[in-house]
């Protein structure tokens, strides 16, 4: 679309008036750079786990660290930040989330299912004789 209105913007902010901006320009922006994304991991104090907090757009890891500092460490106590390109993260599919279903047969992983006291008690009550001689 062509520039339809070339009037200069008069603003309450003198800095904007001084910039002599023209309104009504609806032309597409050109040359917007497309940056990749980085995953940000935030550690609040030494020894704690780094936790995923979000993403930033950046052209390289140095800039990703800078943006991560501004975006995710401007309030919270922070000891350390990691960034990793999103393209380096491999993930499972939610569609396959049945692979994580802990089936009831996996009770053998549960310490509470190991009940030796009953058996010891019975053993003592029968005079500590072998099970095939009682």
């Amino acid at each position: 679309m062509a520039t339809e209105d070339q009037t200069t913007i008069e603003s309450l902010d003198p800095r904007i008036s001084r910039a002599h901006l023209s309104g009504g320009n609806h032309e597409d922006m050109t040359g917007l750079l497309h940056f990749q994304t980085y995953e940000v991991f935030h550690q609040n104090k030494r020894g704690a786990q780094h936790k995923h907090v979000g993403i930033v757009h950046a052209p390289n890891s140095d800039m990703a660290l800078l943006y991560a500092k501004e975006q995710f460490a401007r309030r919270e106590q922070t000891a350390n930040i990691w960034v990793a390109p999103s393209s380096c993260i491999a993930a499972t599919e939610y569609a396959d989330d049945d692979i994580f279903t802990t089936t009831p047969e996996k009770l053998y992983r549960n310490p509470a299912t190991y009940k030796v006291m009953d058996r010891i008690q019975a053993f003592k009550e029968r005079g500590m004789t072998p099970s095939d001689e009682a």
């Binding site: 913007i9 309450l12 009504g24 930033v56 800078l66 309030r75 999103s86 993260i89």
Partner: protein, 327 residues
């Protein structure tokens, strides 16, 4: 996978057919309170509405920082300058979080920026009004942010995971904006005669835009029913407006300030606020481009993008040895 969210703008989404079975399974997941994640199947309309909503929200944050940003140099006192700078930085940060969330649905941040600057996308209408005095800046920080919080808290219980996670962080930061704005309004309202006049004038100016803020009444329509069922929209415009009025009108009156609506009162029988409908023709006119500041907002955003290009090119230079500008 907010996080792991980069989506190639050229990538086409699978055009998997919208069978009744898929839609029913999708609805069941939402009814069970599960969050939808970017790689999940979703109806095309769900995707489209969410992009529109999150993108507009992001634009509102970034444009909303402009009327307040111009007051930083003129904020009275060093502490208020620091606080206002922090608030403006938060708002721009909110935009970044939201652009990232919208991007998970398949529209690139650069396309959204272009659509904002060329006027293809909308942003909250309230930012097309000027902050004439310091008191306006105080009223914005208190009440526009209060309105935003009502809206954002509701939406943070929605169904789309990346949007909810962005909103949780945003709501946490908004509480400072609200306190800061309230502090400024109280300071003026309990101050000199001149200060009281200033804040009263600002309150009067902002009342109509605040009543416009939640949008026109959206009585049950098939469209909004679907969006509610999908938890894209969490409350009706009227419900959110009533909640806002309930929370803030008493606090405004408490300061001895008045609002320019003679009908304004809580109806004891209905439990709702009675009020005069604001001029919705004005709302439509302004949102379609003919407001006091529309042209300025977009021109300033365009200038920022144009003038910042060399920075983007500089940090993007692979040959450069040192790009990290902090120790």
């Amino acid at each position: 996978m907010y996080g792991n969210a980069y989506i190639d703008p050229n990538e086409k989404f699978s055009s998997e057919e919208e069978t009744p079975e898929l839609v029913a399974a999708f609805q069941a997941r939402i009814d069970a309170g599960e969050k939808i994640e970017p790689q999940d199947w979703m109806p095309a309309m769900y995707r489209k509405q969410l992009i529109r909503m999150i993108e507009q929200h992001a634009h509102s944050e970034i444009i909303g920082s402009l009327p307040e940003g111009t007051w930083i140099t003129r904020a009275p006192g060093f502490r208020r300058k620091l606080a206002l700078m922090a608030k403006v930085q938060d708002e721009v940060g909110h935009a970044q979080l939201l652009y990232s969330a919208a991007e998970t649905l398949g529209k690139s941040r650069e396309d959204m920026m272009n659509d904002l600057i060329t006027g293809k996308s909308k942003y909250s209408n309230i930012f097309n009004y000027p902050a004439l005095t310091w008191a306006d800046s105080a009223v914005i920080a208190w009440l526009v942010d209060a309105g935003a919080i009502v809206n954002q808290l509701a939406n943070s219980k929605g169904s789309y995971g990346p949007y909810c996670r962005a909103l949780e962080r945003i709501c946490y930061e908004e509480s400072f904006h609200l306190k800061y704005g309230h502090d400024n309004v109280v300071h003026l309202a309990t101050g000199t005669k001149k200060q009281r006049e200033m804040v009263q004038a600002a309150m009067t100016r902002w009342w109509t835009p605040l009543m416009h803020f939640f949008g026109p009444s959206d009585k049950a329509s098939v469209h909004s029913d679907t969006l509610m069922r999908w938890k894209v929209k969490m409350a009706s415009n009227d419900a959110m407006r009533q909640q806002f009025m309930d929370m803030y009108i008493p606090k405004i009156w408490d300061l001895g300030l008045t609002l320019p609506d003679p009908l304004l009162k809580k109806n004891i029988e209905t439990g709702l606020w009675d009020y005069t409908e604001p001029d919705w023709e004005e709302f439509k006119r302004v949102i379609n481009g003919d407001g006091p500041c529309n042209a300025e907002r977009l021109a300033v955003r365009r200038m920022a993008e144009e003038n910042g290009k060399w920075v983007a090119r500089a940090i993007n230079n692979e040959e450069a040895e040192h790009v990290r500008p902090f120790a």
